[in-house]
């Protein structure tokens, strides 16, 4: 089956450090991967999209990489802050990109300690 998997264990880091979250996929090659942030009791909020022909994408303190050889995307938050504490979801397009259907990983919870 075509899976997308994230580390289900929570990631705890100290403020100011770089947080790195992993998203792995198997048995297919997605044209796009997306990353979302989800706070408790809230809906996911879109952060970044990376295409298969892009190795890296940045937005402020966020960086996403896409390694089609390793079948992996890494999500980095540099100079992390307690306000970055949340669950981060990766997602891929399911089927044709014209429908926008998403398949999500289970999410990784990040806790940034002051």
């Amino acid at each position: 089956s075509q899976k997308i998997e994230q580390n289900s264990e929570a990631l705890n880091i100290q403020e100011g450090k770089t947080a790195t979250l992993t998203c792995n996929y198997t048995n297919y090659s997605p044209a796009y991967l997306q990353w979302y942030r989800q706070d408790p009791g809230r809906g996911p909020v879109f952060l970044l999209l990376i295409r298969e022909n892009e190795k890296e994408k940045r937005k402020e303190r966020l960086k996403v990489t896409f390694d089609t050889t390793l079948k992996q995307s890494l999500f980095h938050i540099t100079a992390s802050q307690p306000a970055d504490s949340a669950t981060y979801l990766c997602a891929r397009i399911n089927g044709s990109s014209n429908t926008g259907k998403l398949i999500f990983g289970q999410g990784t919870t990040l806790q940034v300690k002051p």
Binding site: Y36, P44, F46, I93, T99, G100, K101, L102
Partner: protein, 114 residues
Amino acid sequence: NAGVTQTPKFRILKIGQSMTLQCAQDMNHNYMYWYRQDPGMGLKLIYYSVGAGITDKGEVPNGYNVSRSTTEDFPLRLELAAPSQTSVYFCASTLGGQISLEAFFGQGTRLTVV
């Protein structure tokens, strides 16, 4: 713009009862979706719509129905509630196609079936 609005935010249903979860978006998006999220899991697609009058099943459609009579509204109907439908439900929308794949989510409806 309000974005995607879901009502109600919370609901407790008895087994066998019915209800409709409301979803409305004011961004003139053609594509709308219903996902459910169980604890520690990623979101799973229930139904989706690529435009008014067009709906299709997602990954977990059993026990649910949808309609799309207008571009703005996409209600989700539970006919005979079962404990397995206890979950958090998210409505989402996208502009669709190759234009934008960013999904906008509502704040969710937490449903408990007892």
